[in-house]
């Protein structure tokens, strides 16, 4: 570990520590927004762990997230609460492994298409099972407050950032960067490309399911059509890309402005949120490829050139 690493780790720990103090200041509206931001930070960062280096766009976040909320919905009365996010993470990893094994052997397009419909597929199956068993939506009435959820998410964020940092330094992370640059080269270098991709997709699936399990008490009432709302997948993609996937902190830089903007638009013109989403996608493709990270790096490079 070099001195910069120690400094970065210290800074990250400090930032997370400060973020964790927020509920002492406010437990109302600001905490509610901060919880949403923490949720998207975890989701977008874990999304970028897989999709950043490989350029495989995953639209499965909503499926994993919904799975997680259902784990909590079904299990919170019988099992201790702390086990639920872990069970959800396990199930999320299994679902990701299944999807990955089917699609990640093939080119990226198959993966995008498969994950695009995955949330809707799981929703249809869950609804069908509920209809057969005569069940409807579920009430998740617990004593868990927004403050508890927020702290859980901050803890999970710490785990995700640490995992991302470790993966980037590991052989797996290196393999993934090679795959992202040129998959044929990676294969010829002896990398088991399918395995590497599936493993990392499992990490991001497990985290998304875990977030779903943690957030279920916030929704109080869970039904398939809201738990598996596909919009979530797109929000995560857009935030991660807006921030940029080149650095670990990139998605965070997208989450904060986009959540605020989304909040503002959905308060003032609730029907225009989709338009905002669409324009944000176009912005990323045409104006900001690489997101804020890419912009930051370009500015930094120019600054250095001039300094010389």
């Amino acid at each position: 570990m070099s001195a910069t690493d120690v400094r970065n780790l210290g800074l990250a720990a400090l930032a997370l520590g400060i973020a964790a103090l927020l509920p002492l200041y406010d437990t109302g509206y600001i905490l509610s927004i901060a919880t949403t931001m923490a949720m998207f930070t975890v989701l977008a960062t874990s999304w970028a762990l897989f999709s950043g280096p490989t350029h495989y766009i995953s639209l499965a976040t909503a499926a994993f997230f919904g799975l997680g909320t259902f784990v909590t919905g079904l299990g919170f009365q019988t099992l201790p609460f702390w086990t639920l996010p872990l069970i959800a993470a396990g199930l999320g990893a299994i679902l990701a492994a299944l999807v990955g094994m089917v699609t990640l052997r093939l080119s990226g397009v198959y993966f995008v298409i498969f994950t695009l419909g995955l949330a809707e597929l799981v929703r249809q199956i869950v609804t069908w099972v509920q209809n057969r068993t005569g069940q409807r939506g579920m009430y998740v009435l617990t004593s868990i407050t927004e403050r508890d959820i927020y702290w859980q998410l901050i803890g999970l964020a710490a785990v995700v950032f640490l995992a991302g940092w470790l993966i980037a330094r590991s052989r797996l992370g290196f393999a993934l960067r090679i795959i992202g640059n040129d998959e044929t080269v990676a294969k010829h270098a002896g990398i088991n490309t399918a395995l590497a991709k599936v493993l990392l997709f499992m990490v991001s699936g497990a985290v998304a399911a875990c977030v779903g399990a943690m957030l279920a008490p916030r929704y109080i009432y869970i039904e398939p059509s809201t738990a598996f709302a596909p919009l979530l997948s797109f929000q995560v993609v857009i935030m991660a890309l807006l921030g940029g996937t080149g650095r670990l902190w990139g998605p965070l830089a997208g989450v904060i402005p986009f959540t605020l903007l989304w909040e503002f638009i959905s308060r003032n013109a609730p029907n225009q949120t989709l338009l905002l989403l669409g324009l944000a996608f176009l912005l990323i493709v045409y104006v900001l490829p690489g997101g804020f990270v890419g912009l930051y790096e370009r500015v930094q490079r120019r600054y250095r050139m001039e300094g010389r």
Partner: protein, 289 residues
Amino acid sequence: MFFILITGLLLGGTYALIAMGLNLQYGVARIMNLANGEMLVAGGFAAFWVYTAGQVSPIAALLVVAPVAFGVNWLIYTLMLRPLVRRAKSRGALEVDSILATFGLSFVFVGVMSWLFGGGYFNYSYLAQRVDIFGSSYGQNRVVAFSIASLIAAGLWIWLSYTRAGLRMRAVAVDPDSARLVGIDVPAVSALAFGLGAAVTASGGALISMFFTLDASVGILFTMKALIIVIMGGVGDIRGTIVAALILGIAETFVARVIDPGLTLAAAYVLFLGVLLFRPQGLFGKKPT
């Protein structure tokens, strides 16, 4: 059983038209157009609008829907997607860019359409009598939609197979670089294919609106189905697309009738899984070497 087969075929015929549009866009212009379903909904909206406002038959509306869809999408390709093609370093980079850009377009379209027409469902009743085929009765509108879809599909297939312009299009589908070497204007052909694909899909949308209830945000579901059909049939393969669409139509009808109407996407996914596991190159495709 026989009833399911016929109903499935009738549905599959319209699916075939929609998927042919997407296949032209992906196979020739190399753009994975995820806003394809929104074109379909727009076509349906147009048919709905002319029928309820002016009692104009949805079939006559095709004469307006198709050229407008062609023009709009020709412009979209030339102004928005062509720069992406030009800057792309590899096919993979173009795919990521075009997926993101067309997602953006798709959301913009949904936003604009729900702003114009509201978020509600819309349908109208046109030719809602029954016709008898082999002892069972079917909605007349479904039969008419199927016939017109078949006519358009047949026309497109003949045009692609027997005209010089169709030949150029197939050449670009096979290999854009070689097509350029024999003097084909690849960007022009691509733009033409993209516009034509949208016109075909929008026509399919106008036809499907005769018997299907649409709303502004349903497009993505049709995009999904069309994508599955295109992959199942093989990219750039018109015959495969038609066969795959008919299979999907029958499978969906079967699942909806026998198991549960809420599981239609699950039916499509079962087929998709089978294709991914056993024939990722498509039904009639050759194994890549």
